[in-house]
Protein backbone atom coordinates (compact mmCIF):
# COMPACT_ATOMS: atom_id res chain seq x y z
CA UNK A 1 0.00 0.00 0.00
CA UNK A 2 1.26 3.44 -0.87
CA UNK A 3 1.66 5.97 1.86
CA UNK A 4 3.06 9.44 2.23
CA UNK A 5 5.32 9.97 5.18
CA UNK A 6 4.29 12.96 7.23
CA UNK A 7 6.82 15.74 6.97
CA UNK A 8 5.78 17.81 9.93
CA UNK A 9 8.92 19.33 11.45
CA UNK A 10 7.17 19.41 14.80
CA UNK A 11 7.38 15.61 14.93
CA UNK A 12 11.16 15.58 14.76
CA UNK A 13 12.69 14.40 18.02
CA UNK A 14 15.86 16.13 19.21
CA UNK A 15 19.01 14.43 17.98
CA UNK A 16 20.56 12.23 20.70
CA UNK A 17 23.94 13.39 21.99
CA UNK A 18 25.66 10.07 21.17
CA UNK A 19 24.51 10.21 17.55
CA UNK A 20 25.84 13.74 17.17
CA UNK A 21 29.13 12.67 18.70
CA UNK A 22 29.27 9.69 16.38
CA UNK A 23 28.63 11.92 13.34
CA UNK A 24 31.39 14.32 14.36
CA UNK A 25 33.82 11.42 14.89
CA UNK A 26 33.00 10.00 11.46
CA UNK A 27 33.49 13.39 9.84
CA UNK A 28 36.88 13.82 11.52
CA UNK A 29 37.94 10.26 10.78
CA UNK A 30 36.98 10.22 7.10
CA UNK A 31 37.10 13.83 6.00
CA UNK A 32 40.30 14.71 7.87
CA UNK A 33 42.62 12.35 5.99
CA UNK A 34 40.74 13.01 2.74
CA UNK A 35 41.21 16.77 3.09
CA UNK A 36 44.87 16.28 3.99
CA UNK A 37 45.38 14.01 0.95
CA UNK A 38 43.60 16.38 -1.36
CA UNK A 39 45.51 19.38 0.00
CA UNK A 40 48.92 17.78 -0.48
CA UNK A 41 48.05 16.60 -3.98
CA UNK A 42 46.78 20.03 -4.89
CA UNK A 43 50.03 21.55 -3.59
CA UNK A 44 51.91 19.03 -5.74
CA UNK A 45 49.85 20.13 -8.74
CA UNK A 46 50.69 23.78 -8.15
CA UNK A 47 54.38 22.86 -7.85
CA UNK A 48 54.25 20.91 -11.12
CA UNK A 49 52.55 23.77 -12.89
CA UNK A 50 55.02 26.37 -11.56
CA UNK A 51 58.15 24.31 -12.13
CA UNK A 52 57.51 22.95 -15.59
CA UNK A 53 55.96 24.60 -18.62
CA UNK A 54 54.47 21.26 -19.66
CA UNK A 55 52.70 21.13 -16.32
CA UNK A 56 49.75 22.61 -18.16
CA UNK A 57 48.98 18.98 -19.02
CA UNK A 58 47.80 18.48 -15.53
CA UNK A 59 45.98 21.73 -15.11
CA UNK A 60 43.18 21.48 -17.65
CA UNK A 61 41.57 18.25 -16.41
CA UNK A 62 42.04 19.28 -12.79
CA UNK A 63 40.51 22.71 -13.36
CA UNK A 64 37.62 21.00 -15.13
CA UNK A 65 37.15 18.74 -12.14
CA UNK A 66 37.40 21.56 -9.63
CA UNK A 67 34.83 23.64 -11.50
CA UNK A 68 32.42 20.72 -11.75
CA UNK A 69 33.11 19.77 -8.11
CA UNK A 70 32.50 23.31 -6.86
CA UNK A 71 29.28 23.49 -8.84
CA UNK A 72 28.03 20.29 -7.27
CA UNK A 73 29.17 21.33 -3.81
CA UNK A 74 27.06 24.47 -4.16
CA UNK A 75 24.13 22.45 -5.46
CA UNK A 76 24.53 20.06 -2.53
CA UNK A 77 24.53 22.96 -0.07
CA UNK A 78 21.46 24.46 -1.76
CA UNK A 79 19.67 21.12 -1.65
CA UNK A 80 20.48 20.59 2.03
CA UNK A 81 19.39 24.11 2.87
CA UNK A 82 16.10 23.67 1.05
CA UNK A 83 15.18 20.48 2.87
CA UNK A 84 15.80 18.11 -0.04
CA UNK A 85 17.28 15.55 2.34
CA UNK A 86 14.67 15.90 5.04
CA UNK A 87 12.18 13.03 5.15
CA UNK A 88 14.35 11.47 2.52
CA UNK A 89 12.11 8.53 1.62
CA UNK A 90 8.99 10.59 0.94
CA UNK A 91 9.73 11.27 -2.72
CA UNK A 92 9.64 7.60 -3.71
CA UNK A 93 6.09 7.19 -2.38
CA UNK A 94 4.89 10.40 -3.98
CA UNK A 95 6.29 9.37 -7.34
CA UNK A 96 4.37 6.09 -7.30
CA UNK A 97 1.22 7.78 -6.11
CA UNK A 98 1.36 10.30 -8.96
CA UNK A 99 1.84 7.49 -11.47
CA UNK A 100 -1.11 5.68 -10.02
CA UNK A 101 -3.27 8.80 -10.31
CA UNK A 102 -2.22 9.40 -13.91
CA UNK A 103 -3.02 5.83 -14.88
CA UNK A 104 -6.42 6.13 -13.26
CA UNK A 105 -7.33 9.39 -14.96
CA UNK A 106 -6.79 8.26 -18.47
CA UNK A 107 -5.67 4.98 -19.88
CA UNK A 108 -2.51 5.59 -21.78
CA UNK A 109 -2.24 1.91 -22.22
CA UNK A 110 -4.11 -0.98 -23.69
CA UNK A 111 -5.45 -3.18 -20.93
CA UNK A 112 -2.71 -5.66 -21.68
CA UNK A 113 0.60 -5.43 -23.47
CA UNK A 114 0.30 -8.40 -25.80
CA UNK A 115 -2.58 -9.16 -28.14
CA UNK A 116 -4.76 -11.58 -26.22
CA UNK A 117 -6.62 -12.72 -29.29
CA UNK A 118 -3.64 -14.42 -30.82
CA UNK A 119 -1.01 -16.85 -29.63
CA UNK A 120 1.68 -15.20 -31.77
Amino acid sequence: MLRIVDNDPGDTAPEPRTRRLWTVCCVVFFLGPAMYGFGTKFYELVRVFQGDSTGAFAVTPIVNYLLAGCGFLMLFAWAARNGMFRDIERAKFEMLENEHKLDEIKNFAPSHTYAASSRR
Partner: protein, 471 residues
Protein backbone atom coordinates in the same frame (compact mmCIF):
# COMPACT_ATOMS: atom_id res chain seq x y z
CA UNK B 1 7.18 31.84 -18.35
CA UNK B 2 5.36 29.53 -15.99
CA UNK B 3 4.12 26.28 -17.50
CA UNK B 4 0.62 25.08 -16.73
CA UNK B 5 0.46 22.80 -13.73
CA UNK B 6 -1.54 19.65 -13.46
CA UNK B 7 -2.90 19.92 -9.96
CA UNK B 8 -3.22 16.62 -8.15
CA UNK B 9 -3.73 18.05 -4.73
CA UNK B 10 -7.35 17.03 -4.42
CA UNK B 11 -8.25 13.44 -4.96
CA UNK B 12 -11.86 14.24 -5.88
CA UNK B 13 -10.94 16.56 -8.70
CA UNK B 14 -10.63 14.53 -11.88
CA UNK B 15 -7.62 15.20 -14.08
CA UNK B 16 -8.63 15.40 -17.69
CA UNK B 17 -5.50 16.87 -19.07
CA UNK B 18 -3.15 13.93 -19.27
CA UNK B 19 -2.76 14.18 -23.05
CA UNK B 20 -1.58 17.74 -22.65
CA UNK B 21 0.91 16.57 -20.08
CA UNK B 22 2.63 14.04 -22.31
CA UNK B 23 2.87 14.46 -26.06
CA UNK B 24 2.87 10.85 -27.20
CA UNK B 25 3.54 11.75 -30.84
CA UNK B 26 6.91 13.31 -30.12
CA UNK B 27 7.95 10.25 -28.10
CA UNK B 28 7.08 8.07 -31.10
CA UNK B 29 8.94 10.40 -33.49
CA UNK B 30 12.08 10.10 -31.37
CA UNK B 31 11.74 6.32 -31.17
CA UNK B 32 11.32 6.09 -34.96
CA UNK B 33 14.48 8.14 -35.48
CA UNK B 34 16.37 6.17 -32.81
CA UNK B 35 15.60 2.81 -34.40
CA UNK B 36 16.50 4.11 -37.87
CA UNK B 37 19.93 5.15 -36.62
CA UNK B 38 20.31 1.86 -34.77
CA UNK B 39 19.90 0.05 -38.12
CA UNK B 40 22.42 2.39 -39.77
CA UNK B 41 24.86 1.95 -36.91
CA UNK B 42 24.57 -1.83 -37.03
CA UNK B 43 25.12 -1.80 -40.79
CA UNK B 44 28.30 0.20 -40.17
CA UNK B 45 29.40 -2.26 -37.49
CA UNK B 46 28.70 -5.20 -39.79
CA UNK B 47 30.76 -3.66 -42.60
CA UNK B 48 33.64 -3.08 -40.18
CA UNK B 49 33.40 -6.64 -38.88
CA UNK B 50 33.52 -7.98 -42.47
CA UNK B 51 36.48 -5.75 -43.25
CA UNK B 52 38.40 -7.33 -40.36
CA UNK B 53 38.08 -10.73 -42.02
CA UNK B 54 39.12 -9.13 -45.33
CA UNK B 55 35.70 -9.29 -46.94
CA UNK B 56 35.01 -5.75 -48.09
CA UNK B 57 32.55 -5.56 -50.95
CA UNK B 58 32.90 -1.77 -51.02
CA UNK B 59 36.63 -1.82 -51.71
CA UNK B 60 37.75 1.20 -53.67
CA UNK B 61 34.80 3.44 -52.78
CA UNK B 62 36.43 6.15 -50.71
CA UNK B 63 33.19 7.56 -49.28
CA UNK B 64 32.31 4.15 -47.91
CA UNK B 65 35.75 3.20 -46.66
CA UNK B 66 35.88 1.19 -43.40
CA UNK B 67 37.45 3.98 -41.35
CA UNK B 68 34.50 6.25 -42.15
CA UNK B 69 31.92 3.53 -41.56
CA UNK B 70 33.44 2.86 -38.16
CA UNK B 71 32.88 6.48 -37.17
CA UNK B 72 29.33 6.38 -38.53
CA UNK B 73 28.80 3.24 -36.42
CA UNK B 74 29.88 4.89 -33.13
CA UNK B 75 28.31 8.29 -33.78
CA UNK B 76 25.01 6.81 -34.97
CA UNK B 77 24.77 4.91 -31.69
CA UNK B 78 25.74 7.82 -29.45
CA UNK B 79 23.90 10.70 -31.09
CA UNK B 80 21.45 8.80 -33.29
CA UNK B 81 20.13 5.95 -31.18
CA UNK B 82 20.94 6.78 -27.57
CA UNK B 83 20.30 10.53 -27.73
CA UNK B 84 17.03 10.14 -29.66
CA UNK B 85 15.75 7.30 -27.49
CA UNK B 86 16.66 9.20 -24.32
CA UNK B 87 15.03 12.41 -25.54
CA UNK B 88 11.86 10.56 -26.49
CA UNK B 89 11.67 8.83 -23.12
CA UNK B 90 12.33 12.09 -21.27
CA UNK B 91 9.25 13.54 -22.97
CA UNK B 92 7.26 10.79 -21.25
CA UNK B 93 9.05 10.68 -17.92
CA UNK B 94 9.66 14.29 -16.88
CA UNK B 95 6.06 15.52 -17.29
CA UNK B 96 4.75 12.49 -15.41
CA UNK B 97 7.25 12.93 -12.59
CA UNK B 98 6.77 16.65 -12.20
CA UNK B 99 3.08 16.72 -13.20
CA UNK B 100 3.97 19.59 -15.49
CA UNK B 101 4.40 19.60 -19.26
CA UNK B 102 7.70 20.55 -20.85
CA UNK B 103 8.25 24.25 -21.56
CA UNK B 104 6.76 24.22 -25.05
CA UNK B 105 5.42 21.66 -27.50
CA UNK B 106 6.63 23.72 -30.47
CA UNK B 107 10.02 23.93 -28.85
CA UNK B 108 10.09 20.15 -28.54
CA UNK B 109 9.45 19.68 -32.25
CA UNK B 110 12.05 22.31 -33.11
CA UNK B 111 14.61 20.43 -30.99
CA UNK B 112 13.61 17.15 -32.60
CA UNK B 113 14.14 18.59 -36.10
CA UNK B 114 17.40 20.30 -35.12
CA UNK B 115 18.76 17.12 -33.56
CA UNK B 116 18.04 15.10 -36.70
CA UNK B 117 19.86 17.77 -38.74
CA UNK B 118 22.84 17.44 -36.38
CA UNK B 119 22.92 13.64 -36.67
CA UNK B 120 22.48 13.60 -40.45
CA UNK B 121 25.08 16.34 -40.89
CA UNK B 122 27.45 14.31 -38.70
CA UNK B 123 26.94 11.18 -40.82
CA UNK B 124 27.30 13.17 -44.05
CA UNK B 125 30.33 15.07 -42.74
CA UNK B 126 32.07 11.86 -41.68
CA UNK B 127 31.46 10.17 -45.04
CA UNK B 128 32.73 13.26 -46.88
CA UNK B 129 35.90 13.33 -44.79
CA UNK B 130 35.04 16.27 -42.52
CA UNK B 131 35.32 14.34 -39.26
CA UNK B 132 36.80 16.20 -36.30
CA UNK B 133 39.83 14.46 -34.81
CA UNK B 134 38.14 13.67 -31.50
CA UNK B 135 36.93 10.15 -30.84
CA UNK B 136 33.15 10.13 -30.38
CA UNK B 137 33.30 13.85 -31.12
CA UNK B 138 33.76 13.38 -34.86
CA UNK B 139 30.79 15.69 -35.42
CA UNK B 140 32.23 18.12 -38.01
CA UNK B 141 33.37 21.43 -36.52
CA UNK B 142 30.77 23.34 -38.56
CA UNK B 143 27.90 21.47 -36.91
CA UNK B 144 29.27 21.67 -33.35
CA UNK B 145 27.71 25.09 -32.57
CA UNK B 146 24.29 23.82 -33.72
CA UNK B 147 24.64 20.70 -31.54
CA UNK B 148 25.71 22.86 -28.59
CA UNK B 149 22.72 25.12 -29.09
CA UNK B 150 20.48 22.05 -29.36
CA UNK B 151 21.76 20.78 -26.00
CA UNK B 152 21.06 24.16 -24.43
CA UNK B 153 17.50 24.11 -25.78
CA UNK B 154 17.03 20.56 -24.47
CA UNK B 155 18.14 21.68 -21.02
CA UNK B 156 15.79 24.70 -21.03
CA UNK B 157 12.83 22.66 -22.28
CA UNK B 158 13.16 19.96 -19.63
CA UNK B 159 14.56 21.97 -16.73
CA UNK B 160 11.54 24.29 -16.71
CA UNK B 161 9.12 21.68 -15.31
CA UNK B 162 11.80 20.24 -13.01
CA UNK B 163 12.62 23.62 -11.48
CA UNK B 164 8.94 24.36 -10.99
CA UNK B 165 8.34 21.13 -9.07
CA UNK B 166 7.97 21.57 -5.30
CA UNK B 167 9.25 19.53 -2.39
CA UNK B 168 12.11 17.03 -2.11
CA UNK B 169 12.97 15.78 -5.57
CA UNK B 170 12.85 12.17 -6.60
CA UNK B 171 16.27 10.75 -7.46
CA UNK B 172 15.42 10.46 -11.17
CA UNK B 173 15.07 14.23 -11.42
CA UNK B 174 18.44 14.73 -9.71
CA UNK B 175 20.05 12.51 -12.32
CA UNK B 176 18.27 14.26 -15.18
CA UNK B 177 19.17 17.72 -13.95
CA UNK B 178 22.81 16.75 -13.65
CA UNK B 179 22.77 15.11 -17.08
CA UNK B 180 21.51 18.28 -18.79
CA UNK B 181 24.29 20.37 -17.25
CA UNK B 182 27.01 17.74 -17.67
CA UNK B 183 26.18 16.92 -21.29
CA UNK B 184 26.24 20.57 -22.26
CA UNK B 185 29.62 21.12 -20.55
CA UNK B 186 31.11 17.82 -21.72
CA UNK B 187 30.18 18.48 -25.34
CA UNK B 188 31.71 21.95 -25.17
CA UNK B 189 34.88 20.64 -23.52
CA UNK B 190 35.43 17.83 -26.03
CA UNK B 191 34.50 19.60 -29.22
CA UNK B 192 35.75 23.15 -28.71
CA UNK B 193 38.68 23.04 -26.26
CA UNK B 194 40.97 20.69 -28.28
CA UNK B 195 39.95 22.41 -31.51
CA UNK B 196 40.49 26.04 -30.52
CA UNK B 197 42.09 26.35 -27.07
CA UNK B 198 44.77 23.72 -26.36
CA UNK B 199 46.92 21.60 -28.62
CA UNK B 200 49.27 18.61 -28.65
CA UNK B 201 49.14 16.05 -25.86
CA UNK B 202 47.06 18.38 -23.74
CA UNK B 203 44.37 18.30 -26.43
CA UNK B 204 44.69 14.52 -26.48
CA UNK B 205 44.13 14.45 -22.73
CA UNK B 206 40.98 16.55 -23.07
CA UNK B 207 39.71 14.37 -25.92
CA UNK B 208 40.14 11.27 -23.77
CA UNK B 209 38.40 12.94 -20.87
CA UNK B 210 35.56 13.75 -23.26
CA UNK B 211 35.07 10.11 -24.33
CA UNK B 212 34.84 8.95 -20.77
CA UNK B 213 32.64 11.80 -19.58
CA UNK B 214 30.27 11.28 -22.49
CA UNK B 215 29.57 7.80 -21.13
CA UNK B 216 29.58 8.73 -17.47
CA UNK B 217 28.00 12.16 -17.50
CA UNK B 218 25.55 11.93 -20.41
CA UNK B 219 24.54 8.30 -20.83
CA UNK B 220 24.92 7.02 -17.24
CA UNK B 221 22.82 9.62 -15.38
CA UNK B 222 20.04 9.44 -17.96
CA UNK B 223 20.12 5.64 -17.95
CA UNK B 224 20.06 5.26 -14.17
CA UNK B 225 17.55 8.08 -13.82
CA UNK B 226 15.19 6.19 -16.11
CA UNK B 227 15.74 2.94 -14.23
CA UNK B 228 14.81 4.64 -10.95
CA UNK B 229 11.56 5.68 -12.63
CA UNK B 230 10.57 2.60 -14.62
CA UNK B 231 11.58 -0.20 -12.23
CA UNK B 232 9.34 0.95 -9.34
CA UNK B 233 6.34 1.61 -11.57
CA UNK B 234 6.66 -1.77 -13.25
CA UNK B 235 7.21 -3.64 -10.00
CA UNK B 236 4.48 -1.49 -8.43
CA UNK B 237 6.55 -0.81 -5.34
CA UNK B 238 8.95 1.96 -4.35
CA UNK B 239 12.68 1.74 -4.69
CA UNK B 240 14.27 -0.10 -1.75
CA UNK B 241 16.01 2.98 -0.34
CA UNK B 242 15.68 6.50 -1.69
CA UNK B 243 18.45 7.63 0.64
CA UNK B 244 20.84 5.08 -0.83
CA UNK B 245 19.89 6.17 -4.35
CA UNK B 246 20.90 9.74 -3.43
CA UNK B 247 24.22 8.45 -2.11
CA UNK B 248 24.72 6.92 -5.56
CA UNK B 249 23.86 10.18 -7.30
CA UNK B 250 26.12 12.42 -5.22
CA UNK B 251 28.90 9.85 -5.37
CA UNK B 252 28.74 9.96 -9.15
CA UNK B 253 28.70 13.76 -9.08
CA UNK B 254 31.84 14.08 -6.96
CA UNK B 255 33.94 11.10 -8.07
CA UNK B 256 33.19 10.66 -11.74
CA UNK B 257 34.61 13.85 -13.30
CA UNK B 258 38.16 13.01 -12.16
CA UNK B 259 38.21 9.58 -13.77
CA UNK B 260 38.93 10.45 -17.39
CA UNK B 261 42.68 10.57 -16.81
CA UNK B 262 42.67 6.78 -16.42
CA UNK B 263 42.65 6.73 -20.23
CA UNK B 264 46.16 8.21 -20.12
CA UNK B 265 48.07 5.74 -17.99
CA UNK B 266 51.73 5.57 -19.04
CA UNK B 267 51.51 8.97 -20.75
CA UNK B 268 53.59 12.08 -19.92
CA UNK B 269 50.82 13.27 -17.55
CA UNK B 270 52.23 13.49 -13.98
CA UNK B 271 51.94 10.18 -12.18
CA UNK B 272 50.10 11.60 -9.17
CA UNK B 273 47.24 12.50 -11.52
CA UNK B 274 47.23 9.05 -13.05
CA UNK B 275 47.11 7.49 -9.59
CA UNK B 276 44.36 9.94 -8.59
CA UNK B 277 42.27 8.80 -11.56
CA UNK B 278 42.79 5.14 -10.67
CA UNK B 279 41.69 5.76 -7.08
CA UNK B 280 38.65 7.81 -8.07
CA UNK B 281 37.62 5.08 -10.53
CA UNK B 282 37.80 2.48 -7.81
CA UNK B 283 35.83 4.84 -5.54
CA UNK B 284 33.09 4.93 -8.17
CA UNK B 285 32.87 1.14 -7.97
CA UNK B 286 31.58 1.57 -4.40
CA UNK B 287 29.00 4.02 -5.70
CA UNK B 288 27.99 1.52 -8.38
CA UNK B 289 27.65 -1.15 -5.69
CA UNK B 290 25.14 1.02 -3.79
CA UNK B 291 23.04 1.43 -6.93
CA UNK B 292 23.03 -2.27 -7.78
CA UNK B 293 22.26 -3.26 -4.16
CA UNK B 294 19.35 -0.82 -4.20
CA UNK B 295 17.81 -2.29 -7.35
CA UNK B 296 18.23 -5.89 -6.26
CA UNK B 297 16.82 -4.93 -2.85
CA UNK B 298 13.79 -3.57 -4.71
CA UNK B 299 13.42 -6.82 -6.64
CA UNK B 300 13.43 -8.87 -3.43
CA UNK B 301 10.11 -10.68 -3.16
CA UNK B 302 9.28 -9.98 -6.83
CA UNK B 303 11.91 -12.16 -8.47
CA UNK B 304 9.33 -13.91 -10.63
CA UNK B 305 8.81 -10.63 -12.50
CA UNK B 306 12.16 -11.15 -14.21
CA UNK B 307 10.67 -14.21 -15.90
CA UNK B 308 7.18 -12.95 -16.66
CA UNK B 309 7.69 -9.23 -17.18
CA UNK B 310 9.75 -8.58 -20.29
CA UNK B 311 10.70 -4.92 -19.67
CA UNK B 312 11.83 -5.86 -16.14
CA UNK B 313 13.90 -8.66 -17.64
CA UNK B 314 15.54 -6.19 -20.04
CA UNK B 315 16.28 -3.84 -17.14
CA UNK B 316 17.78 -6.42 -14.80
CA UNK B 317 19.79 -8.07 -17.58
CA UNK B 318 21.25 -4.64 -18.27
CA UNK B 319 21.99 -4.18 -14.57
CA UNK B 320 23.85 -7.49 -14.34
CA UNK B 321 25.88 -6.54 -17.41
CA UNK B 322 26.45 -3.11 -15.85
CA UNK B 323 27.87 -4.81 -12.76
CA UNK B 324 30.19 -6.85 -14.98
CA UNK B 325 31.31 -3.83 -16.96
CA UNK B 326 32.05 -1.85 -13.79
CA UNK B 327 33.95 -4.77 -12.30
CA UNK B 328 35.98 -4.79 -15.53
CA UNK B 329 36.59 -1.06 -15.06
CA UNK B 330 38.06 -1.62 -11.61
CA UNK B 331 40.52 -4.10 -13.10
CA UNK B 332 41.38 -2.34 -16.33
CA UNK B 333 42.21 1.02 -14.75
CA UNK B 334 45.17 -0.53 -12.94
CA UNK B 335 48.58 -0.02 -14.51
CA UNK B 336 49.26 -3.77 -14.46
CA UNK B 337 46.15 -4.59 -16.45
CA UNK B 338 46.58 -1.70 -18.86
CA UNK B 339 49.97 -3.05 -19.84
CA UNK B 340 48.24 -6.08 -21.31
CA UNK B 341 44.95 -4.85 -22.71
CA UNK B 342 45.62 -1.33 -24.00
CA UNK B 343 44.64 -0.96 -27.70
CA UNK B 344 43.33 -4.54 -27.82
CA UNK B 345 39.84 -5.84 -28.61
CA UNK B 346 39.24 -6.14 -24.86
CA UNK B 347 38.41 -2.43 -24.93
CA UNK B 348 36.06 -2.89 -27.90
CA UNK B 349 34.26 -5.68 -26.03
CA UNK B 350 33.98 -3.45 -22.96
CA UNK B 351 32.56 -0.57 -25.02
CA UNK B 352 29.96 -2.84 -26.68
CA UNK B 353 28.94 -4.26 -23.32
CA UNK B 354 28.32 -0.77 -21.93
CA UNK B 355 26.62 0.78 -24.93
CA UNK B 356 24.57 -2.15 -26.15
CA UNK B 357 24.49 -4.56 -23.24
CA UNK B 358 23.48 -1.95 -20.70
CA UNK B 359 22.07 1.31 -22.04
CA UNK B 360 20.61 0.11 -25.34
CA UNK B 361 19.01 -2.83 -23.54
CA UNK B 362 17.45 -0.55 -20.96
CA UNK B 363 16.07 1.60 -23.74
CA UNK B 364 14.76 -1.49 -25.55
CA UNK B 365 13.00 -2.50 -22.34
CA UNK B 366 11.52 0.96 -22.00
CA UNK B 367 10.32 0.88 -25.62
CA UNK B 368 8.82 -2.58 -25.07
CA UNK B 369 6.86 -1.13 -22.16
CA UNK B 370 5.95 2.23 -23.69
CA UNK B 371 5.13 1.50 -27.33
CA UNK B 372 1.77 -0.20 -26.58
CA UNK B 373 0.96 2.76 -24.32
CA UNK B 374 1.96 5.27 -26.97
CA UNK B 375 -0.01 3.74 -29.81
CA UNK B 376 -2.89 2.43 -27.72
CA UNK B 377 -2.54 -1.08 -29.10
CA UNK B 378 -1.08 -4.27 -27.67
CA UNK B 379 2.05 -5.78 -29.14
CA UNK B 380 1.37 -7.74 -32.34
CA UNK B 381 3.37 -10.66 -31.03
CA UNK B 382 4.81 -11.55 -27.66
CA UNK B 383 6.94 -14.21 -29.28
CA UNK B 384 8.65 -11.61 -31.44
CA UNK B 385 9.29 -9.53 -28.30
CA UNK B 386 10.92 -12.60 -26.76
CA UNK B 387 12.96 -13.21 -29.93
CA UNK B 388 14.13 -9.59 -29.81
CA UNK B 389 15.30 -10.08 -26.24
CA UNK B 390 17.06 -13.41 -26.71
CA UNK B 391 18.77 -12.53 -30.02
CA UNK B 392 20.06 -9.30 -28.47
CA UNK B 393 21.21 -10.80 -25.18
CA UNK B 394 22.83 -13.90 -26.66
CA UNK B 395 24.48 -11.73 -29.32
CA UNK B 396 25.98 -9.22 -26.90
CA UNK B 397 27.12 -11.81 -24.36
CA UNK B 398 28.86 -13.85 -27.10
CA UNK B 399 30.40 -10.70 -28.57
CA UNK B 400 31.63 -9.53 -25.17
CA UNK B 401 33.22 -12.87 -24.24
CA UNK B 402 34.67 -13.23 -27.72
CA UNK B 403 36.27 -9.78 -27.83
CA UNK B 404 37.50 -10.05 -24.24
CA UNK B 405 39.34 -13.25 -25.09
CA UNK B 406 40.57 -11.77 -28.37
CA UNK B 407 41.97 -8.84 -26.40
CA UNK B 408 43.87 -11.10 -24.05
CA UNK B 409 45.36 -13.11 -26.91
CA UNK B 410 46.35 -9.91 -28.73
CA UNK B 411 47.92 -8.51 -25.57
CA UNK B 412 49.91 -11.67 -24.95
CA UNK B 413 51.01 -11.73 -28.58
CA UNK B 414 52.28 -8.15 -28.42
CA UNK B 415 53.91 -8.53 -25.03
CA UNK B 416 55.82 -11.58 -26.27
CA UNK B 417 57.30 -9.34 -28.97
CA UNK B 418 56.01 -11.50 -31.82
CA UNK B 419 55.56 -9.87 -35.22
CA UNK B 420 52.33 -7.89 -35.75
CA UNK B 421 50.94 -10.45 -38.20
CA UNK B 422 50.94 -13.04 -35.45
CA UNK B 423 48.41 -11.04 -33.45
CA UNK B 424 46.09 -10.67 -36.45
CA UNK B 425 46.29 -14.39 -37.18
CA UNK B 426 45.43 -15.16 -33.58
CA UNK B 427 42.52 -12.71 -33.76
CA UNK B 428 40.90 -14.03 -36.91
CA UNK B 429 38.75 -16.81 -35.33
CA UNK B 430 37.50 -14.29 -32.77
CA UNK B 431 36.65 -11.81 -35.50
CA UNK B 432 34.62 -14.45 -37.33
CA UNK B 433 32.65 -15.25 -34.17
CA UNK B 434 32.14 -11.52 -33.70
CA UNK B 435 30.34 -11.27 -37.07
CA UNK B 436 27.80 -13.91 -36.06
CA UNK B 437 27.29 -12.31 -32.65
CA UNK B 438 26.68 -8.97 -34.39
CA UNK B 439 24.26 -10.60 -36.83
CA UNK B 440 22.31 -11.99 -33.89
CA UNK B 441 22.02 -8.50 -32.35
CA UNK B 442 21.09 -7.03 -35.74
CA UNK B 443 18.47 -9.77 -36.20
CA UNK B 444 16.96 -8.85 -32.84
CA UNK B 445 16.57 -5.22 -33.88
CA UNK B 446 14.99 -6.17 -37.22
CA UNK B 447 12.52 -8.45 -35.43
CA UNK B 448 11.66 -5.59 -33.07
CA UNK B 449 11.08 -3.18 -35.95
CA UNK B 450 8.88 -5.75 -37.74
CA UNK B 451 6.88 -6.24 -34.54
CA UNK B 452 6.39 -2.47 -34.22
CA UNK B 453 5.28 -2.26 -37.85
CA UNK B 454 2.73 -5.05 -37.40
CA UNK B 455 1.56 -3.50 -34.12
CA UNK B 456 0.98 -0.15 -35.80
CA UNK B 457 -0.87 -1.85 -38.64
CA UNK B 458 -3.08 -3.80 -36.21
CA UNK B 459 -6.58 -2.83 -35.08
CA UNK B 460 -7.08 -0.24 -32.36
CA UNK B 461 -8.04 -1.88 -29.12
CA UNK B 462 -11.11 -0.79 -27.22
CA UNK B 463 -9.76 0.19 -23.84
CA UNK B 464 -11.79 -0.69 -20.83
CA UNK B 465 -12.41 2.15 -18.44
CA UNK B 466 -9.92 2.29 -15.58
CA UNK B 467 -7.98 -0.61 -17.02
CA UNK B 468 -4.59 -0.92 -15.44
CA UNK B 469 -1.60 -1.39 -17.67
CA UNK B 470 -0.18 -4.84 -17.24
CA UNK B 471 2.93 -6.20 -18.78
Amino acid sequence: MSPPVLDTSTANEPLTDVDRLVDRRIVLCYYGAALTYMVISMLGGLLMALQLVRWNELQGIELLSPGRWRMVHTNAIAYGFLANAFLGTLHWTIPRLTMRPVLSKAFSYLIFAAWQVVVLATAGGILLGHAQAVEWGETPVWIDPVAQLGLLLVAINFMTPIMAARGPMYVTLWYFMAAFVWTFLTYAMGNFVPQYVVCGTNAGAIAGLFIHDLVGLFVTPLGWGLMYYFVPILLKKPIWSHGLSLVGFWGLAFFYPLQGIHHFLYTPIPMFLQYGAVISTIAVEFVVATVIVNFFGTLKGSGREVVTNLPIRWFYTGMILYGITCFQCALQVTLTFQELIHFTDWVVGHAHLVMFGVFSQWLMGIMTYLIPRLVGKPWYSRKLCEWHYWLSVVGIVVMFLDLTMAGLFQGWSWSSMRIWDHSTQVSEPFWIVRIFAGLSMFGGILVFIYNIYKTLAGPVEVIAAKAQPAV
